[in-house]
């Protein structure tokens, strides 16, 4: 059994390990029927558990330590990836990666947040929390893509922009604001995909585009459930309620008309099957790009203003 099993995944994991044991002895014993029986049970159990997840459970899936990250998708979905580094002002932020890549006939610029898998790589990637230079690097790469007329794909997966002294000194707020401003105007298509956590300005900082997609088990909101709990309930204990109140899942955001499409994940979540997830996403990206490249470059800015202009609800 894997070390990283979430509470609600336990019944499934237990059945699966039992199944594995039985298979070992299957050659000697006549238990095929029994095995088939348990296999069916696992599928049923998975379906019933994953169809009825609470919002907090989805947040946990979005943070699953075995979930595919930006570089995993890049290696599984694209060919000839050429990573580019640095913001040209200060340094190379490791929590945002980017570069040219090819997906069949499409040459694209792909940029995304990058988390680490273990303590060491997480320290290296700063847990996927960019400093200002991360956003500036992303913008530099987007401008490069614009110059050579390549569509841009951004992948969002961050617990937030880093809250540190140096980040403030180097203008974390300005870096994000500048990206929102500049991304609105880009003259090449921008396809945004939330692949894990979409925490607030740190996520939106690479999230302005023409189509916004969200993998099934992701969250995207103005604040994390924990921080929301600590501010509004004055305690860290109400994260489940906060997740419910924030309505932050892919289904919620589609209903709120803040995203355009949900990309289905393999049963049990993207972490259960990286290959299948990447293949699904690759096909979706190709489909989306084939439409996006038809839009006249001079219309993109106007369309984006209209798209984001509609977001929100008020009483006039």
């Amino acid at each position: 059994m894997s070390k990283n099993v979430l509470d609600f995944e336990k019944p499934i994991a237990e059945l699966e390990s039992k199944l594995e044991e039985m298979r070992k002895f299957a050659d000697n014993l006549y238990i095929d029927a029994e095995i088939k029986n348990i296999e069916d049970k696992v599928v049923n159990l998975k379906e019933s558990i994953y169809k009825n997840l609470t919002r907090w459970q989805r947040v946990q899936l979005a943070r699953h330590p075995e979930r595919p990250y930006t570089l995993d998708y890049i290696y599984l979905m694209t060919e000839n990836f050429l990573e580019l580094h640095g913001d040209r002002y200060f340094k190379d932020d490791k929590s945002i990666v980017g570069g040219f890549a090819t997906i069949d006939e499409y040459k694209v610029m792909i940029i995304g947040h990058q988390k680490g898998r273990d303590t060491k790589s997480n320290v290296y990637r700063n847990f996927g929390m960019p400093n200002p230079e991360g956003y500036r690097k992303a913008l530099r790469l987007m401008k490069l893509a614009e110059k050579f007329n390549k569509p841009i794909i951004t992948m969002i997966d961050t617990p937030g922009a880093f809250p540190g002294i140096e980040a403030e000194e180097r203008g974390q707020a300005e870096a994000i604001a500048r990206n929102l401003f500049e991304m609105s105007k880009l003259k090449v298509p921008v396809l945004v995909i939330i692949i894990g956590e979409g925490a607030s300005g740190g996520a939106l900082g690479i999230g302005v585009g023409d189509r916004i997609l969200m993998l099934e088990n992701c969250w995207y909101s103005v604040i994390s459930p924990e921080s929301c709990s600590s501010i509004l309930w004055r305690s860290w204990e109400y994260k489940e309620q906060a997740a419910e109140a924030l309505k932050l899942t892919s289904a919620d955001l589609l209903e709120q008309k803040l995203i355009d499409r949900i990309v289905p994940e393999p049963l049990g979540g993207a972490h259960k099957d990286h290959q299948t997830m990447a293949l699904t996403l690759r096909n979706v990206i190709k489909e989306e790009l084939s439409e996006l490249i038809k839009i006249k470059p001079e219309k993109l800015f106007e369309n984006r203003l209209e798209k984001f202009g509609k977001m929100g609800k008020w009483i006039d």
Binding site: A161, F162, P163, G164, I165, A167, E168, E169, R170, G171, Q172, A173, E174, I176, A177, R178, L180, F181, E182, S184, K185, S200, G201, L204, G205, G207, V208, Y220, S221, V222, I223, S227, C228, I231, L232, W233, Y238, Q241, A242, A245, L246, K247, L248, D252, L253, Q256, L258, F301, R304, L305, F308, G309, M311, G312, K313, W314, I315, D316
Partner: protein
Amino acid sequence: MSWFKRAKQNISTDTSKAIDLPDGLWEKCPGCSEILHKKQLDLSMWTCPKCNYHFRIGSSQYVEVLLDKETFKETEKKMRSADPLEFADTKKYSDRVKETIKKTGLNDAILTGTGKIDGKDVAFGCMDFKFIGGSMGSVVGEKIARLADRAYKHKLPLIIIAASGGARMMEGAYSLMQMAKTSGRLAKLAEANIPYISILTDPTTGGITASFAMLGDVNIAEPQALIGFAGPRIIKQTIGRDLPEGFQKSEFILEHGFIDMVVSRKDLKSQISHLLNYFS
């Protein structure tokens, strides 16, 4: 306990004859502890005459500070929050909004409209910190977007005064998207070479700083205002050490190159008027 009792009569103070001080006529300056009369503060635009501490003031007061007398025309005056998530924490968001409207007399956290500065027409927006911490939800975002559109249509310089803790949690991702919405509209304004002056007051943090407040052609801050992305408490918690003196204050932000100038409230109008002359 008898030693505390006054045995003799007539030495206690008769409170019935105390001079009746009307409530709230005096304010203590949080900067230097000077006791100041409200009339005196009104005359000094709510800055301390002794230490130049800037009290937080509301949008209607900023109208008086910046705009020529009786030139302000409010727009989108009635726009109100629709509570899109039917959000509730310890209190329902819809109730919180209703109560705040009643208490403050404001409909949301920003006032928008047009007016004149030394005779020059401007589009003007000003946030109100006292309305749910000046937070930006759909209403603030939409009002800024429409204000920017008005500035674009009539070629008016745009001036926005920020005072906010950030995006409004109770509207979830809707609030977040207002950052993109407002920044996009400012990009459109910039393409048309229409000036935008951003004024940052105490406090300007979170999603406000990370969108329209940092995007001025010229960014101006009032003295000693807290300006930043993450709040100081969060940063302290994250890094586990004390923050340096003056961290995230206007003067610190000026030193690090993210604002053009720190201007006292009483000089704001003349400085902006001066700038507008260069932009015209």
